[in-house]
């Protein structure tokens, strides 16, 4: 089973009021966790996205797709980064809990759908 563990843009906004030590420890936690998940082979993919202020949105406007500057959703809800892990739900929740335990900011854990038609 694969799960996607998602981190949201609101965290970035929240870190602006934190101390340098707090931010340094958070970076450390994220890097350490990422290394652990890669070494254990659980990590299928992981990436961070650029700040949502750099996003562009393509909308269907006046009968044609038109790109505009800025994200589609509220910046708070914008995806900031993710891990895709090969794990069961309990383990995926455990991984997310390690980050949330420090940041106190919510993360979403969602199963990735199978391509095969299994029962």
């Amino acid at each position: 089973m694969k799960y996607m563990i998602m981190m949201f843009g609101g965290l970035g906004a929240a870190t602006q009021d934190r101390s340098a030590e707090w931010i340094a420890s958070m970076h450390e936690l994220l890097m350490k966790l990422d290394t652990e998940l890669k070494q254990s082979g659980e990590c299928v993919a992981s990436d961070a996205l650029v700040d949502p202020s750099q996003a562009r949105t393509v909308r269907f406007t006046g009968g044609a797709p038109v790109p505009t500057d800025g994200p589609f959703a509220e910046v708070k809800e914008s995806l900031a980064g993710y891990w895709i892990v090969e794990a069961d739900e309990e383990r995926a929740l455990q991984i997310a809990s390690r980050v949330v335990g420090y940041t106190e900011y919510p993360m979403e854990v969602r199963r990735i759908m199978d391509h095969s038609a299994q029962p």
Binding site: I23, H27, V50
Partner: protein
């Protein structure tokens, strides 16, 4: 492990020679390049276990020639007739092992074709990403998988990029030969730029699978070294090699044990590679004055001044500023202005640097890089304007697409901020 490295070094050394020999004999750069790639893969599989053959180049020529013949046989008869008529009037059905027989070997097999290959791979008809990928594979002897790992993209992406590059080379009617003057100088500039890009690609990223990225800088240095050996009279080729060595010498000090970026001023200078610095200085000293001074020699001279300073405070900034002044005259550009602003700030104070940065605000080429804001933030911090500095650091952190850079900038911003206890934690 050591044997593995020895095999890889050997393969990279002979790969361009084998490819050059095949192309001169059979034409069809794209088919020959595929065949050599197949031979390299076979060697990479067999040699570490079975030992390196007595004549590795002949071995590779034989296997590559067989692969070429197999590929031709697999083609449809119609296509084969067309190909034979158009590109291979001499007939291409060689005995499968002809290349391995002494005396029947391919003409000019001892020649170093690296130069002609580099010119072909860096053909102006190709996009820079294609030039990079093709140069690494055809002239560098790397496998598609190794290139993909170095650029952190799927193998299929690089395979497609290389296939497209080879189609463009064929469509452009590019020849496997050294271009004549005056094109040669122009084309050499493209080759130097591609090697510079390969180096930067490896050097500017310090996160993730760092080792693979280091491979890219090592490969760029190896190719630049080879180019310098083949063209000892080209001052800019020497300048580029010197620049790479003098820059790469600081690699170990650029990140701390946690992978975080350490700016030049804070680096542990005893971690710098003194042998690389000495070699870079020697190459640069020999090159200076032998030809027109160019951007690579100037940048190498600037890098040398940084490397020579025992402490950040001892850096000869007036001399660096003078070199940036020359660079601005012969190769102006927004990134040169940016670096010159840093030098200017060191010599004449941060306000002078900030004034020069202001001239870049309306430059569209700077709109998508965080560097302008990052430099501005540093200079504002020096003036004591912490509020504006913090604002600039955060802006730069939002623009950057590099995770280590973003983390560095967020930390710099946070250091200038002394938060009051949150009044409303729920917000």
């Amino acid at each position: 492990m050591n044997g593995q490295h020895r095999v890889e070094d050997l393969l990279r050394e002979v790969a361009p020679q084998v490819l050059g020999a095949l192309v001169r004999r059979y034409g069809q750069f794209d088919a020959c390049e595929d065949a050599v790639q197949e031979a390299l893969l076979a060697a990479a599989l067999q040699w570490p276990g079975e030992g390196v053959p007595d004549r590795p180049r002949s071995w590779l020529l034989t296997v590559a020639s067989r692969a070429l013949v197999d590929a031709w046989r697999a083609d449809s008869a119609r296509r084969r007739r067309e190909t034979a008529a158009a590109l291979d009037p001499a007939g291409h059905m060689l005995p499968a092992d002809a290349a391995g027989i002494p005396g029947v070997g391919l003409p000019g097999a001892g020649r170093d074709d690296t130069l002609a290959l580099l010119f072909l791979c860096c053909h102006p008809a190709l996009s820079p990403p294609s030039q990079l990928a093709l140069t690494l594979r055809a002239a560098g002897g790397l496998t598609t998988a190794q290139i993909a790992a170095a650029f952190l993209v799927p193998e299929a992406t690089i395979a497609k990029r290389i296939a497209r590059a080879k189609r463009h080379i064929r469509a452009a009617g590019a020849r496997f030969e050294l271009p004549d003057q005056p094109q040669r100088t122009e084309r050499l500039a493209v080759v130097l730029h591609v090697l510079y890009l390969i180096f930067n690609e490896g050097y500017t990223t310090s996160s993730g699978p760092a080792l693979q990225r280091t491979d890219l800088t090592a490969e760029a240095i190896r190719l630049a070294r080879r180019l310098h050996r083949l063209l000892p009279g080209e001052a800019e080729a020497a300048g580029l090699l010197a620049l790479m060595l003098l820059t790469d010498a600081r690699r170990a000090a650029r990140t701390d044990t946690d992978g975080r970026i350490v700016p030049l001023a804070d680096q542990q200078r005893d971690q710098w590679d003194t042998a690389a610095i000495a070699e870079g200085q020697a190459i640069l000293t020999r090159a200076l004055g032998t030809g027109p001074v160019g951007p690579y020699q100037l940048q190498a001279a600037i890098a040398a001044l940084h490397d020579e300073a025992p402490t950040a405070e001892a850096t000869d900034w007036p001399q660096i500023l003078a070199l940036y002044d020359v660079l601005t005259t012969i190769a102006p550009g927004p990134l040169v202005t940016l670096s010159r602003a840093v030098a200017l700030a060191h010599v004449h104070g941060p306000t002078a640097g900030l004034a020069l940065l202001g001239t870049l605000d309306t430059d569209d080429r700077m709109a998508h890089t965080h560097r302008l804001e990052a430099v501005r933030a540093h200079l504002l911090e020096q003036t004591g304007n912490t509020t504006a500095a913090r604002h600039s650091y955060l802006r730069a952190a939002k623009i950057t697409a590099s995770l280590p850079e973003q983390r560095y900038l967020e930390l710099r911003a946070a250091r200038l901020h002394h938060p009051a206890p949150p009044a409303n934690p729920a917000d």
